[in-house]
Amino acid sequence: MSLLKINDMTHRFGGLTAVSNLNYELEDGKIYGLIGPNGAGKTTVFNLVSGFYNPSMGEINYNGEVINGMAPHDVASRQIGRTFQNIRLWEDMTVLENIKMSHHFKLGYNLIDVFFKTKKYQTREKEITEEAMELLEVFKLTDLAHERPSSLPYGIQRRVEIARALSLGPKLLMLDEPAAGLSTADVVELIDYIKWVHETFNITIWMIEHQMQVIMSLCDRIKVIDFGQEIADGVPEEIQNNPEVIKAYLGDGAI
């Protein structure tokens, strides 16, 4: 069964066609890679799916529901987790508070409950904290619960960001260049980490990545785009040997 299905999606910024006629199908429980040269439109695809842009044409279907045109927070509440190229944790909140925010759309209490500190408010806050602590426990981040992200090393911040995305309880996790800015040693760890996340949470992962090591060792299937158009789709071995892909990355002269 397909979890995410993109039908013939096109997106234009003014005169520029950033994504054209893209088709995509993500099946449950696999790891997918989206690669392409700089400016190919990869992040735009992510932004379209997560609701920051509304596609000019086409349809995005997630879990049996059309999600294009929805606001990002509505998309998030339908259980899609996402990270960014540059880490976007809330630096003035603790790690625990960062995680707790994933409950914001399903708080179950309102402003009046907050003002009067009702029973409902107190029990819900307690549950939310407990759930967040449980999640941190799973990620072995319990010790860092009350730290602020800015005081943590970059590699750890990445993990916290992934943990935060997972706190939404997503079926689909979108990682936008998770290895960006990491050292070689950290990249090796990240690969294991993503594998572990995939197995532990049993979710679909969809990632954009420039480091071929990460893509090739993790992905079940890879799509390559350039200038917003699909140029190849297949298992890692096929992609590695595809002349179109090599051309797009290295230019015509390389062949």
Binding site: T43, N47, F52, F84
Partner: protein, 304 residues
């Protein structure tokens, strides 16, 4: 009927000229620094006062001189004085913040506060009595087809158009103008290209303040009663004009000034004049909510 229309047209052109000249000052600084120089309206107010003192001095000490020469001398000296003020503000208030890489909001707050200091400092120093701007050369009224035009009105409109033409020339056809446009594109690349950023900013403030100076003299001549708070509301409305046109684009700011001038004259024709401000601000609110970039501005998107 036709003559009233024509009369109002000229009134609107004159009124719009002031807005345009001040709006251009906002626009220049915004284009280069991405800073809304909220003190600009009060720089205009100070220009009126400078012009008042300079012209009064000339009229007192060089009584025999012909009006146009006094006018010219006043113009030049006022421009120098106002530029000095503009540069002083840039140096002591904006530049240190820029050097520290302070958040934009801190600069905006500083600008707002500078405006208050200029207004209230002026009031504290010069007292509450409002001053009358001296008449540098006699007012001549031309009458034709039921429309009355004064030489002042013509001077204002012509000067505004000339000032814009000159500014347009500077921004589009000179080296420093090119540098100014470049700064507004990418502030960080400019020093890398060997262009001295601070010199461009200095030049921008001189241009903006000089325009305020010109507007100040002409305003003083046309509406001779000066008071320290005159700059606030005019400055704000000129700013509205700049936003309507699309701040950051000098053509937009210039046209925006005239648009606002027309709107206000039309409003006054139908409502009590106390509604002028109300309607101007409502227009601002509506435009900013619907099309925040104004008529000529270009949308700038945040990178995700």
């Amino acid at each position: 009927m036709f003559s009233t229309l024509l009369q109002n047209l000229f009134n609107a052109l004159q009124w719009g000229s002031f807005y345009s000249m001040i709006a251009l000052g906002y626009c220049l600084v915004y284009g280069v620094l991405r800073l809304i120089n909220f003190a600009h309206g009060d720089i205009f107010m100070m220009a009126c006062y400078f012009a008042f003192f300079i012209a009064s001095w000339f009229l007192g000490n060089l009584a025999g001189m012909p009006g146009p020469i006094i006018f010219g001398l006043t113009m030049i000296l006022t421009m120098v004085a106002t530029s000095g003020l503009g540069l002083f503000i840039e140096r002591v208030a904006y530049r240190p913040l820029r050097k520290k890489g302070a958040h934009r909001l801190y600069v905006v707050i500083t600008a707002l506060m500078l405006g208050f200091i200029l207004e209230n400092g002026n009031l504290a120093v010069l007292g509450a009595s409002s001053r009358r701007f001296p008449d540098m050369f006699g007012k001549i009224v031309f009458q034709f087809a039921g429309v009355s035009l004064t030489n002042y009105k013509i001077i204002v409109i012509v000067t505004a158009v000339l000032a814009f033409a000159l500014l347009n020339l500077i921004v589009n056809s000179t080296k420093i103008g090119m540098a100014m446009r470049a700064v507004s594109y990418d502030k960080f690349a400019i020093p890398l290209m060997g262009i001295p950023l601070n010199r461009i900013i200095t030049f921008t403030f001189i241009l903006g303040s000089s325009l305020a100076a010109v507007a100040g003299i002409l305003f003083g001549m046309s509406y001779p009663v000066l008071d320290p708070y005159m700059g606030m509301i005019i400055g704000w409305k000129a700013f509205i004009a700049a936003v309507v046109g699309g701040i950051g684009d000098i053509k937009g700011a210039f046209l925006g000034g005239f648009i606002l001038g027309f709107i206000e004259i039309i409003v006054v024709a139908f409502f009590p004049s106390s509604y002028k401000d109300l309607i101007a601000f409502v227009i601002l609110l509506v435009i900013l909510s619907v099309k925040p970039t104004g008529f000529f501005g270009v949308a700038k998107s945040t990178k995700i």
